[in-house]
């Protein structure tokens, strides 16, 4: 299928490459400005407390600018603006006198140096009233007073919180009682997934400069410059055309920059008070108290007939969301949707409850509900197959939601039809490459090292568009311009988090105009010079973001063809683009009349000199579908029965991304997604001390272990297969990769461990201690 493309599907050095290998790329933490102040945030040492009084006398004597809950705007908001207002709970204020976690913030100081700011912060005196803290969901839900939040807002409606329950969500289709009656086999199991820390390498940072005309310029770590602009404008009552949020590359996000990081609000408050540029860069310790993946705990009950059809499913989930809403309502919704879209069920009931605790606020991290749900559902498909005496892969192929069916891309309100489906192709090719059935039959032996093979499948949505508007906003604005030398500029607020989103946009434009990749540039962007882009999240970068750029490029091309038709004295419909590989030039020619021709540069230059104008176009585009980007993993592991250590020996990954725009970067997405998921399965979790509420790892990377280069297979042992699909609604047939790279890996690894030692773990992470304990019980 790629033979029809000149540039798409080929690998070129990525556009940011040179800046990034040479140290010249500027991330928010690298920025500094003249006469800039440094800020430090004042944080609670207690998990739950109220402030009785606060004394800045000593800090002020040092010359520090001080701010607290007493003099900052106190309106309620949600830091995440991806959902529509009527589906958005608001429980945040910039500062509060009510501290809800260790590390919660009640004020900030700014001074000429970071050292002086730190000294001033330490000199602030606070009188505390310590409250009972709730560090488990059970304790939190048993409480009737000293609640973590007493009242919050759903849009503008006041909501009284009871028993620390932040929100609930129920989704029902069909009649599960009848469904379970129809079942020959019913199984039920409880699954748990951990509080994984994003550990993006750059800690959350913001620089804010007040401008002479009353506005601000902001350089934040964010995945969403426009939502940051809208929130800052609203909270600080600044007209939106005076809030300029600059797109700066971030040192990793993984979901932690979908919401406006609190540091951006705090830095703005300080900068406005000081009327000086202020920078705050969190320490790693502060960053670990700032954000974490949603954990999950849910009971899943599934009924099936003897022939393998699923008659009913019931999922009851409790989510410990920590001390704030970063739109937990949306999270509960996507859990139901991702579950619903994995396998056809004749009836289903989902009950989700989000519970406040005095812990780090939870937010999106790669997969957003899909890894949590896929771990349980895929583990259960293995268990069901075993019970039915069926091949687990055959059971999946029989039941998966595929071509022509309805996919819930983002909970029950974002649904669209499936137009491309590479599931079976990927399973068959992957099984063959890794020799799945041969390995499955292999004797595990009784030695110290036991090998096992595992398989699981899943997907992520490509964006949150759908034929009908739902609870989630999704569109991108882009501008495409042809310069007078034939080069092209793309202007959009779309973010690239390292995966190659903007390279993909450039390559798609190169293909549309048949101009070489190096002639397409990505313009620097900020919120004042661009239209709204919701955010790079939900694996929407290529499908929705670059998809919007593609639609705009087609319009720009129409204008260019109009100029060319006038210049060549013909009709726009009779023109074609021809890329000349030897000269690197692109010509616009009259079909069948090759002598009637001009280069793009000549046409653009002629149009300018004739005062016809520039070939330029700008528009907001919403995708009206959200195709599933299917993935699957075959994983071979080796378990050391003496130490409990699990080694990843070999991985064969499958990705149904439609047309693969950047093959090498897409492979890199699969590698990275697998690496972070293996971390979640084998190592990563953050726990809070049950009495102090502090992180038990003391927010130190020394005690937050992640896999390193020594634990990952090399490329010979990590194969990535792409499906040969074409997504008809996508830009040149493309859909997403990003989060799908993560979602199906955890159950595949757990399934391989089960194959090796015969123990099915239902709680992640599976630590060496867990494995040793299980081995001890089984007397292996």
């Amino acid at each position: 299928m790629y033979e029809n493309y000149q540039f798409v599907g080929k690998d070129y050095p990525r556009k940011e490459g040179k800046a990034r290998v040479s140290g010249k790329e500027k991330y928010p933490s690298d920025l500094s400005f003249d006469h800039m102040l440094y800020g430090r945030i004042l944080r609670s040492p207690y998990a739950h407390a109220r402030i009785k009084s606060i004394d800045f006398t000593e800090a002020r004597k040092m010359g520090a600018v001080c701010i607290s809950y007493e003099d900052a705007p106190d309106q309620f908001f949600n830091v995440r603006l991806v959902s529509i207002p009527s589906a958005t709970y608001k429980d945040w204020t910039i500062f509060s006198d009510h501290m809800r976690q260790v590390g919660d913030f009640y004020g900030a100081v700014a001074a000429e140096t970071e050292e002086l700011a730190e000294k001033a912060a330490r000199a602030v005196r606070v009188e505390w009233e310590v409250l009972p803290s709730y560090l488990t969901m059970e304790d939190a839900m048993a409480a009737s007073e000293n609640l973590i939040h007493e009242k919050v807002y759903l849009h503008d409606k006041e909501v009284i919180i009871r028993n620390n329950i932040a929100c609930t969500r129920e989704v029902v289709e069909g009649d599960i009682e009848e469904g379970f009656k129809q079942a020959d086999v019913i199984i039920e199991e409880t699954f748990e997934t951990p509080r994984q820390y994003h550990c993006q390498l750059e800690t959350k940072t913001c620089v804010v400069r007040p401008e002479p005309e009353g506005g601000i310029t902001v350089w934040p770590t964010t995945q969403a410059v426009h939502n940051t602009r809208i929130l800052l404008g609203k909270v600080f009552t600044i007209p939106l055309n005076k809030v300029n949020v600059v797109r700066v590359p971030g040192g990793g996000h993984f979901g932690s920059g979908i919401h406006t990081n609190p540091v951006a609000l705090i830095t703005t408050a300080l900068a406005l008070k000081a009327n000086r540029t202020v920078k705050i860069s969190l320490s790693r310790e502060e960053d670990m108290y700032d954000h974490v993946r949603y954990p999950s705990k849910y009971t899943l009950k599934v009924g099936a007939r003897r022939d393998g059809t699923l008659t009913a499913g019931h999922m009851k989930a409790y989510i410990d969301i920590g001390c704030h809403h970063v739109q937990a309502l949306a999270f509960l919704g996507v859990m139901s949707g991702f579950w619903h879209s994995l396998y056809r069920m004749e009836s289903m009931k989902y009950e989700g409850t989000a519970v406040y605790t005095n812990k780090v606020p939870t937010c999106a991290m790669q997969g957003y509900g899909a890894p949590q749900v896929t771990f349980g559902v895929e583990s259960m498909m293995d268990m069901l197959a075993e019970k039915l005496g069926m091949d687990p892969i055959a059971l999946r192929i029989q039941n998966y939601v595929g071509l022509g069916e309805i996919f819930w891309g983002q909970g029950p309100t974002i649904k669209s039809k499936i137009f491309s489906d590479g599931v079976v192709e990927l399973i068959e090719k992957g099984a063959e490459r890794i020799k799945y059935y041969e390995l499955k039959k292999q004797e595990k032996g009784s030695g110290r090292y036991r090998k096992g093979i595992g398989f699981a499948r899943g997907f992520h949505t490509s964006g949150t568009g759908a034929p009908m508007p739902g609870e989630v906003k999704d569109y991108t604005t882009a501008q495409v311009k042809v310069n007078e030398d034939g080069s092209i500029d793309i202007l959009t607020a779309l973010m690239d988090q390292g995966g190659g989103t903007l390279d993909a946009a450039a390559k798609i434009v190169a293909e549309e105009f048949q101009v070489s990749f190096d002639k397409v540039g990505i313009s620097p962007a900020d919120s004042r010079s661009t239209g709204y882009d919701v955010c790079t999240h939900a694996t929407r970068g290529v499908y929705c973001g670059a998809g919007a750029v593609h639609e705009v490029a087609k319009e720009t091309k129409k204008i260019l063809f109009d100029y060319a038709s006038r210049m060549l004295d013909t009709y726009p419909g009779s023109l074609e683009l021809i890329y000349e590989e030897d000269t690197g030039e692109t010509r616009i020619s009259v079909v069948g009349n090759p002598e009637r021709t001009a280069t793009i540069a000549e046409v653009a230059d002629h149009a300018m000199n004739k005062d016809w104008g520039t070939a330029i176009f700008s528009k907001s585009i919403r995708k009206t579908a959200c195709p599933p980007a299917y993935t699957n993993y075959f994983v071979e592991v080796e378990v050391d029965t003496h130490t409990g250590h699990v080694r990843i020996l070999r991985v064969v990954a499958g990705s149904d991304a439609g047309t693969v725009i950047n093959p090498d970067l897409a492979r890199g997405q699969m590698h990275g997604g697998f690496y972070r998921s293996a971390g979640m399965v084998l190592l990563e979790n953050t726990q809070h001390d049950g009495s102090t509420g502090e992180l038990t790892n003391k927010a130190s990377l020394l005690d937050y272990k992640m896999m390193g280069i020594d634990e990952m297979p090399d490329e010979d042992n990590f194969e990535v297969i792409f499906a040969s699909t074409y997504e008809p609604t996508g830009p040149l047939g493309a859909k997403g990769v990003g989060e799908a790279a993560f979602n199906s890996a955890p159950p595949a690894i757990a399934s391989a461990i089960c194959d090796a030692i015969g123990v099915r773990f239902t709680k992640l992470p599976i630590s060496p201690e867990d494995i040793l304990e299980a081995i001890g019980e089984k007397k292996l």
Binding site: K18, E25, K26, L201, G251, G252, R284, H671, L701
Partner: protein
């Protein structure tokens, strides 16, 4: 606080500086000399994002006092190419797709270049040993391993 006058050789150039006795090399490089390619990731020597070369050996600049560097040759990512357009290891990281967000990249490239200078034809295990302490949260290390092999080939061809 008292300050000490020192001379630091960074990227082939001598700098006269007045530093506090407890000032880390990382802070001096980033804040005084504006070599921001040297990154802060944890400040406790765990992530290696702050790696620079000291007399050709990778060291963690968040764990070294500026005053300890007197008389040594410090090279940051900005100085690795030694006046050329790029160092072969930098090219290899771009070509092999080993760069995603790029925040860990300077430290990875410096450590890899130092390894290959010492050991021109490294085994995969040598690369794993050298980069064991360097965190990358994006790539899963697969492409990094490949890029270092490719960079080593390029360096051998040039030598």
């Amino acid at each position: 606080m008292n300050t000490i006058s020192i001379e630091l050789n960074v990227n082939g150039r001598d700098w006269q500086l007045s530093v506090a006795p407890n000032e880390m090399l990382l802070n001096v490089l980033r804040e005084r000399l504006h070599y921001t390619g040297t990154k802060y990731g944890c400040g406790i020597g765990e992530c290696s994002a702050c790696t620079v070369l000291m007399d050709d050996t990778p060291v963690l600049s968040c764990q070294i006092l500026a005053v300890q560097c007197v008389g040594k040759k410090i090279v940051t990512i900005e100085g690795l190419a030694e006046g050329q357009e790029s160092h072969p290891m930098q090219d290899a990281f771009i070509e092999e797709g080993a760069v995603q967000c790029g925040f860990c990249t300077p430290a990875m490239v410096l450590t890899a270049a130092a390894l290959v200078k010492e050991k021109p034809d490294p085994e995969n295990q040598d690369i794993r040993d050298a980069l064991r302490g360097n965190f990358c949260r994006c790539t899963g290390y697969v492409k990094i391993l490949k890029a270092v092999q490719s960079g080593a080939r390029k360096m051998r061809e040039l030598s």
